[in-house]
């Protein structure tokens, strides 16, 4: 009896917290369809803010910057990170404490320190040697730096989950290391590589602080653009673009759920 009440209380708490988690997002979505420029009252349904998005060149530039940054950095991070993950696995019997510390460094470093260190570093390089002034390239470099650890850890844990006799079998089967990589390593790793790429991409799109401090004048990403718009005095277009970004996240969530389901059913 008492336990039942306890469970019911917990269930109520769960729904309350769910409301807490989704209310701020729901408000954005709701007011993105508001015909009036207000977050206090709803004047009627309208798509005018979405129409304005399509004609906003700056915003489209920001979108393309975000995508370029996300894809370029994820590709580089995937290559470099996979190598580290592989090295970590192959040599896990050694004392690699220094490597672990180094790999965790970008994860534990506070964003603001990360961003400002890089900014100060790049600016000084630019001033002294004329290289690496704040630009899309410096943003890519910074993003790769915080993506590498995640790729490395995903790849590493995939290797750890494998039956080690497979490696021996592959060694017998394929003569050259290249063949082995192509016919054994890559196919085995494929799911984790895809996962790592998408995680890297998500991290990149999500990042604001590090991008903000390493960006050049022409490299505003979507979050930087939104930040600027909020600081300028919010225009309701922000609700619309934010709604689209929230929508993308929800779609990604549904996909990850389906993907996992299928994965479970298959195994």
């Amino acid at each position: 009896m008492k336990r039942g009440a306890f469970q019911r209380g917990l269930s109520l708490f769960w729904w309350l917290m769910l409301a807490f988690l989704y209310l701020p997002l729901a408000v954005i979505v709701f007011y993105s369809f508001n015909s009036a420029n207000s977050a206090a009252y709803f004047a009627g349904f309208s798509l005018r803010w979405y129409e304005r998005l399509l004609n906003n060149d700056q915003l489209l530039d920001a979108l393309s910057n975000s995508l370029t940054l996300g894809i370029a950095s994820s590709i580089i991070a995937l290559i470099v990170g996979t190598l580290i993950g592989y090295g970590m696995y192959r040599h896990r019997s050694r004392k690699l404490g220094w490597l672990i510390v180094l790999i965790y460094l970008p994860i534990v470093m506070p964003d603001i320190v990360f961003g400002i260190s890089d900014m100060a570093f790049f600016i000084t390089l630019d001033r002294e040697f004329g290289i690496l002034g704040p630009s899309l390239m410096t943003m890519i470099i910074a993003h790769v730096t915080f993506q590498i650890p995640f790729v490395a850890l995903i790849v590493y844990s995939r290797f750890v989950g494998l039956d080690p006799t497979l490696f021996e079998a592959a060694k017998d089967l394929y003569a050259s290391p290249f063949q082995r990589a192509r016919h054994f390593l890559l196919p085995t790793l494929k799911p984790s590589l895809i996962a790592a790429f998408f995680l890297s991409f998500t991290l990149s799109i999500d990042d604001f602080v590090i991008s903000f401090f390493t960006a050049g004048p022409e490299n505003a990403t979507l979050p930087i653009y939104i930040w600027g718009a909020i600081r300028r005095g919010v225009s309701p277009e922000i609700n619309a673009i934010a709604t689209l970004m929230i929508g993308a996240v929800v779609i990604a969530a549904v996909f990850s759920l389906l993907f996992n389901r299928r994965g479970h059913a298959g195994s």
Binding site: S38, A40, P177, G216
Partner: protein, 357 residues
């Protein structure tokens, strides 16, 4: 195995870096402007692009500290024209962030009004050309404050405004100047003791429950429209521009010049020291100084023009308050003092103190 797996990614990596590097090489057909938000007529940009067959890339800032930080952060080699206000001009000159103008490249210089031709902030106008001038004043909701005094007390006196949310300006020099003016020390005070008193007033004000934050001049107009604040500090031209665009929402929002004194500013055009396209930058400055373009600019952004030749083509709204204030109000206007060296550091410490407590 190792060698081959390494070389491919390294090659790829270098390739990517090289690609993004070459994409960065500055295009000769581009002009990079670094301007205040809502401070340019897009048609003028279009006209310039058409006339010179170039592309104009605009970036924006909300405050002068923000602009300076970006310039320090490598912006001095990335922008071609910047638009700093008078009190930042000496600072930029002395820190070497801007370059001398080549006056022979700006034949339209003769169009500049006499009172702006040899300004105190840039003797001989060696580095700067005036762009627009305006006033920082108090914007407030006339429904909530039907009998608002023409005074900073609307912001600084809790008896005058006991229970309505309000904002102060994010640019510390303007807010401190306002506090100085309210205390009777004059808007352009620089005496450390006056500053300390002003800082204390701002701190007390900030700790009032109804203080809603430090908000810059353009965003505060949005906030006041949305009812987030009922009073704040903004610029006459931005106020007018938004009022013309949205007369309904601004029916009950007024702009006021406090009698204790407030800021008159001149925004200038300057060329950063390592601007990628200095020649095009000069062309642009000259273009803005054209009589027709100058009038078009002011008619669009609702600020007073320092361009003598443009005056005949200005809309009537630009020849009356709040753009051109009454003689009495003009007497209350002061330039914001330009700070340097020890004085600047002292001010910055005070301002940080105000922000953090």
């Amino acid at each position: 195995m190792p060698r081959r797996t390494i070389t491919t990614p390294v090659a790829l990596l270098l390739g990517t870096l090289a690609l993004s590097g070459s994409a960065l090489a500055q295009d000769d057909n581009k002009l990079y402007l670094f301007n205040w938000t809502e401070y340019m007529d897009p048609d003028i940009i279009q006209a310039f692009e058409d006339k010179y067959d170039v592309e104009v890339v605009q970036s924006y800032y909300n405050s002068l500290p923000e602009m300076t930080a970006k310039l320090n952060a490598g912006g001095d080699s990335q922008y071609d024209v910047i638009f700093p206000s008078n009190y930042y001009v000496p600072r930029l000159i002395h820190s070497g962030l801007v370059q001398k103008l080549d006056k022979s490249e700006i034949p339209n210089l003769g169009n500049v009004m006499e009172q702006f031709a040899d300004p105190a902030y840039d003797p001989g106008a060696e580095y700067s050309v005036p762009y627009q001038w305006g006033i920082s004043g108090i914007v407030y909701d006339t429904d909530t404050f039907p009998d608002a005094p023409k005074s900073w007390s609307l912001l600084f006196d809790p008896d005058v405004n006991p229970d309505q949310p309000f904002a102060l300006m994010g640019d510390g020099q303007v807010t401190m100047g306002g506090a100085c003016a309210y205390l009777g020390k004059g808007y352009d005070c620089t005496n450390p003791d006056d500053w300390k008193a002003a800082a204390k007033l701002v701190l007390d004000t900030k700790h009032r429950d109804t203080f809603s934050g430090f908000t810059d001049g353009t965003p505060v107009l949005q906030q006041i429209q949305r009812g987030v604040v009922r009073a704040g500090v903004s610029y006459n031209g931005d106020y007018l521009q938004q009022k013309e665009q949205n007369p309904e929402a601004f029916k009950h929002i007024a702009f006021m010049i406090p009698e204790e004194g407030t800021e008159m500013w001149v925004d200038t055009m300057m060329i950063p020291a390592k601007a990628p396209h200095p020649k095009l930058a000069h062309e642009f400055i000259n273009f803005i100084l054209d009589a027709k373009i100058g009038a078009q600019l002011s008619n669009y952004i609702y600020y007073a023009s320092p361009n003598k030749a443009a005056q005949p083509d200005l809309d009537t709204v630009l020849t009356e308050p709040p753009v051109l204030p009454s003689d009495e109000d003009q007497g209350h206007l002061k330039f914001t003092p330009s700070l340097e060296g020890q004085n600047l550091q002292l001010f910055q410490q005070l301002w940080t103190e105000v922000q953090s407590r």
